[in-house]
Symmetry: C2
Subunit: 391 residues, 2 copies
Amino acid sequence: MSWVPVPADAPFGITELPYGIFRVGDERPRVGVAVADRILDLAGLARAAGFDAEIVEATNLNPFLALGPDAWAESRAILTSLLSEESARDVVQPHLVPAATATMSMPFDVADYVDFYASEHHARRLGEILRPGTPPLTPNWKHLPIGYHGRAGTVVVSGTEVVRPRGLHRGSGEQPVFGPSSKLDFEAELGWVVGAGSDGPVGVGDFGSCVFGVVLVNDWSARDIQAYEYVPLGPFLGKSFATSISAWVVPLAALEDAAVEPSVQEPPLAAYLQGPSAGYDVELSVELNGVEISRCPYASMYYTPAQLVAHTTVNGARLRTGDLLASGTVSGPDRDQAGSLIELTADGAEPLILGDQRRGYLQDGDEVVLRATARGIRFGEVRGRVRPALG
Amino acid sequence: MSWVPVPADAPFGITELPYGIFRVGDERPRVGVAVADRILDLAGLARAAGFDAEIVEATNLNPFLALGPDAWAESRAILTSLLSEESARDVVQPHLVPAATATMSMPFDVADYVDFYASEHHARRLGEILRPGTPPLTPNWKHLPIGYHGRAGTVVVSGTEVVRPRGLHRGSGEQPVFGPSSKLDFEAELGWVVGAGSDGPVGVGDFGSCVFGVVLVNDWSARDIQAYEYVPLGPFLGKSFATSISAWVVPLAALEDAAVEPSVQEPPLAAYLQGPSAGYDVELSVELNGVEISRCPYASMYYTPAQLVAHTTVNGARLRTGDLLASGTVSGPDRDQAGSLIELTADGAEPLILGDQRRGYLQDGDEVVLRATARGIRFGEVRGRVRPALG
């Protein structure tokens, strides 16, 4: 129990303790931890207690992330103690800022951004739509978690408006057509945030010592641009215009009770992808213009996050603080559990009914909000509104 | 003319004036400019002249790059004047460090790394090898410069040893095989370095105001890992273990006399890829264990560097200081002008003869050195030796 009151509509409780970067008014952005409907100002608290506040006065979480797992655990233990013991109340309370008065910024500087394709249900449906007449899963799919590098420089924080991208789409003949995407989509994902870097392969068992926590990700996708460009070297402009993440990074430590047995993986995987690694019972929800259109079960993902990290590094590639490894679209076995419009509407052919409106793909002005919970643990939302394409 | 003597075997003359990060012994790395067989210590010179040296005391070029085109031009004009006027000799000479005594480090922090596929000759040969029986160029190839994001965190400076990567390759049956790559290759490329960022589309005409200069790139590639993984989302582990760049960034301003008419582009491109943009008459050379095995004409590339930048940003993606846009393998029309072993040896089937040795792909201990000249303007080399795979 905590002495901090938790209003019914508070975005968090007292057990998530996610980290983010906030400011109030013209103040300098700094590290905060969300508690109920408040943000604990770690720099203010540290200074008041006579401690060095350099790491929590930073304008991004990278210095804190780089400290590594012992420091993360210690920080969480101290915060849990301060927020539960009545005796700490007078010291801590002056540094609790109402979250409603704060402006959030990017929680961390993204080093490299990798996006995976780890849901079998999503990969099958996409394969059927994009490569009709061929097997929906490519022959490699069940042998490795397929992934590609995305654009780190266009990862933006929740609340940032997203301008509809322009690009080349397939035309009626050989010549492509240039213009605004007419198939703008979202993708609901989880993104695993690397804290401590590594100079070589990270085994599945070392996941918890290098990954600090997790964000919600909306990997905005322009399906028409993507379909035209992606053979043979993969998605580029159909993805690189924007990727939105939640302002709050939920520590892995908060998800302990949500760890579940991973999906059955058959045929057996290579040794470097084997060993104990957990799935997570996280349910994502997608809201479009205020209407919930999908609930996506992360527990149904084929590959575990520990396998994504092991795969990324098995060739010797180093990890850096701030690397972001996104799961790929989280889609469950039923089509109404899909994390993208291309699946939910069969590439626009079967539009969703939202009150008096229909949506195949996103229209200008539309707002997408992703949320997630993991057995009571809440994630920060990812909110984004679509702005019209540039003139 | 300059008062600086240029020995016959000096790596540079007096007109390139490339920027890099050097140190001598235990000194802190800082900005230097290469002149003949010397490095001009800009921080030492600035301090001696009573100027603020913060930007040239940085451990990477990013603060200098961010200053933008007017400052780059001014810096070059001042350096040219100081190195040519006899009256400046006594002031400048004490700050010329013998290049042989210096250790070079990464010249800039790579923000996002994009690798293109802009040589038609390379794309055709790769298509024939990787997708036999289908047209070698995909239908989109002549309508847009195909590119993908690479791993910024594993871009390393010339001289860094490269460990042979391990990964999954195609086996005899459905099950892939895990092990060290047996098809380790190089790719000879040029990499365009973004100086001033941009928040929206950069037209082909604005290339010179956002791109500062160019490096030589060896985009090491594990062909067996790449072939197994790259469908449908593009190359990942087959590339992400290492990408080597030259320690010296040659300013665009030094390449003015090497600008040439670009290749004929037919069918016509979309409007955003049109407008005046130059090719460059740069000849790359590839040396393997001391034997020159290829000379690759950059002037034969299909897409110009200005088109690569325009394409990367047409969807609204911003550019950041330190973005690296690599050309893709530079391969000429003749097979002995190819910038990769997969082309030079027909995927290993026709090994090169190097004295008493044969090479289909790279063996442990092999050393690859890339060099380039552009009508007398010299580039810094990229040197890398292959180390055996991890245990």
